[in-house]
Symmetry: D2
Subunit: 259 residues, 4 copies
């Protein structure tokens, strides 16, 4: 089974480019499951119905989220009804939406879980105990994809090693910069610290760079806006054993739009 | 001019492996200047005389630092005398040591500056104003290497774009995971968000992974120790125009020790 | 000289109550200078022209600010022209407005300085070096009031002790809860860790308490609104020697509106 | 029932002064239960057997803790056996020691719970859900004392209001500066944002002030040591209805050693 996991999609620019690149990647590879992190899909902040629909139309089957989950209030209106959207699972009980979902690839069940790190990022429940509880509830599922949305490398690496041999893959998201450490860990879990993003390449995390630099220097607030210009696409393509669910390969998929 | 910049060297394991790989890389490439981040050289915490000497013997010519600068008290005894050691320049005036140094490659002067980010990391002076002041003091030098030691990708990217066309290279350090975004920015500055590290590969940032995972789960303190096992080496090799000082190429140099 | 310093005024509720209590306090005490922290005057977020005018009309002569300084964009339109408004002095050079101001009480010059702490709060310049520079510029002024806007008690206490004998008073603001540690330090500087706030008493920092509690439990965003109900007024009244500028007494002034 | 709750006891200086003042306070008031926060009892960092025994001998019956709980490794050797020591209850399951304890005052059972805040302080479980679970387990106990160890005023106030009418008292600790907002909330819960500390008065949170100031200015590490000189004692005395367990009065108890 080939799983394509796409990093944080930023703004309309990111939606459009994801759509275009997905078409191309689909021609070159057999993609059995396409997952994308959509926490920045609407002007860099959150997800709404329109953005979700567009991603589905482009071929994305499951959308994961992160610290920007609730930036678009509209999401609360439909997240409960849409089983394709997964927000961090370590939100407290009673939070709208779901923290994991089970989808089918042919006759194989695939569990997709979203977790959020705590260091410098959130005050959610322990992501390690959360994933333990989820895995316990689904002992029969062997194809398990975890989006670990976190700020620091240590917390993501810890989750990767913690789950090695217990899930198919741990993909880090949130920093918007792809890391070059993709590998299959010793017990068969594919891992990367950060998948990267989809959207403007010459911004800063997709945001207009002059605004970000100006804010860091002046320490005064400024409204962020999604950058313009040529775009980048970062994803990972991961091959899972149909039988065991363990990963046999992971590679980065990178596209740059010409200027 | 070829500059090799090596990411955070962790522990004796990192020192040894840096030494070994440097020998090999020197055979394959002409290295005109070798710089390494040494903030984790001594058991993962700081730099002392012995570690510095070993790195010099291995071919490192300039050692940069970061948030672990003062972890080994011994450094304060000799940092003022050793012009090859550079600690973050945005420490307040009066801080021991220097924030930049000028070295010679043939007849060409090269300015090496170390900066530290503030987000989630330090309460130092503004790194943007600091680098502006340094560049103003050295208007004639065109070969300028900046080690931007920072936690978050946004602050490192901001520094890269801020200095594009004004320095030869901005190399990010601190997260110990190499990023896959190395490039020469439009005005000739080589950039990477994080160079990575040198040391145990199967630890977490070079630290024993069971300790790190245990600490995250239990939230109880535990003494970190450098991990065992096969090692990784992450550096970037950067080609600078002798005439203009601008970068013409940057590529990652990665070595993995076989298990 | 009697100086009344009023803690963070929150919302219209706070403005109104400050006005009413000031009338009363003015009857009971001779107030030679009235200063108020106005960073939360407009719906809990920032200061605008209307709020500033109302505070002036109520008898406030100098308004200090803090981390909410720029929450009302309108302030940038007039802060440069209004010498009665002081924003944190350790913002970078070039920031709109001023970080200190000199006013006259009779024939005596009084220097009012606003500083912001960095721990868990800001990435501004070092407040200690900043105040040193300000004091150096005004060697002849002996009546000096410092509003130290900071999150943690350690940073405020450090500033108090650092300036003991060099300024008339260091008043902490920001936490909205008055502390019971007001005193004149050994060398004549009046000190309190936090003056408190003016506004709804049964909210949380002046904000509707159900919203704050709900947010802490759900970890989902919710728009804050200023609480309703009876109000509290917290200020300190400080007596300064006309001759030396040193403090001879400090006491808390507290009023609670009956329900 | 009269409960005396003593703020964070810092170092041997704090232990000694607590002992001395307790003798005096016991003469003036009938104390039915004495609780003290002991997280800083040993050189400002943690609790060991000797310090605990000394506090018991001085009349303390229950010791609560906080973020410094594990600073003395020795505590792990005996915390399980000593039912008088309570560490934050929102540590994960499996943590040594207990997060609450039930003691007897005459024939009345009193539940003492320790909670830790998360904002800028810890990555523990949600303190609100934690206290809900504890209260559910002990529906028959009406005398309930909560030590809410937290950095920010908002989180402490939120806990106070959240528990109003459900527990006897919520006492804040950790900032080492007493607040002047003690009151009985509308439904009968005594509340104070911070009780304060016991130990050197002219230090910063009990620590030598030159070291703290030097560290803030230089941003270089320095070993903290407990300050010398005259001491302060901060506690609250709280009167609880024997029948309902609700608070009928709270007042601060403050003593300053003469220089
Ligand atoms: Fe994110
Ligand atoms: Fe994102
Ligand atoms: Fe570092
Ligand atoms: Fe490092
Ligand atoms: Fe504030
Ligand atoms: Fe405020
Ligand atoms: Fe404490
Ligand atoms: Fe504490």
């Amino acid at each position: 089974m080939n799983v394509l996991f796409i990093g944080d999609i930023v703004g309309l620019e990111g939606q459009e480019y994801a759509e275009r690149v997905l078409e191309e990647v689909s021609r070159d590879h057999q993609l059995d499951l396409v997952i994308a992190n959509g926490e920045n899909a609407v002007h860099g902040r959150g997800l709404n119905r329109k953005a979700a629909e567009r991603l589905y139309d482009a071929g994305v089957e499951i959308i994961t989220l992160g610290n920007h989950t609730w930036d678009q209030h509209e999401l609360q209106d439909f997240i409960d009804e849409d089983a394709r959207i997964v927000r961090p699972c370590n939100y407290p009980p009673g939070t709208p939406g779901r923290g994991y979902t089970v989808c089918k690839v042919g006759s194989t069940e695939v569990l997709v879980v979203n977790l959020m790190g705590r260091t410098f990022l959130s005050q959610l429940d322990c992501p390690f105990r959360t994933i333990d509880a989820v895995l316990k509830q689904h002992p029969a599922i062997r194809h398990i994809i975890v989006d670990m949305h976190a700020e620091v490398t240590s917390e993501k690496l810890a989750m990767g090693w913690y789950l090695d041999g217990r899930v198919s893959a741990v993909f880090g998201t949130h920093t918007h910069v792809p890391t070059a450490d993709e590998r299959v860990l010793p017990h068969g879990t594919a891992y990367i610290t950060d998948v990267g993003m989809v959207g403007p390449r010459d911004g800063i995390l997709g945001v207009d760079r002059e605004i970000v630099i100006g804010r860091l220097i002046s320490q005064m607030p400024a409204r962020f806006s999604v950058a313009k210009g040529p775009r980048q696409f970062h994803a990972v393509l991961c091959e899972l054993s149909d039988e065991t669910g363990r990963a046999t390969a992971i590679k980065r998929v990178t596209k740059y739009e010409s200027a």
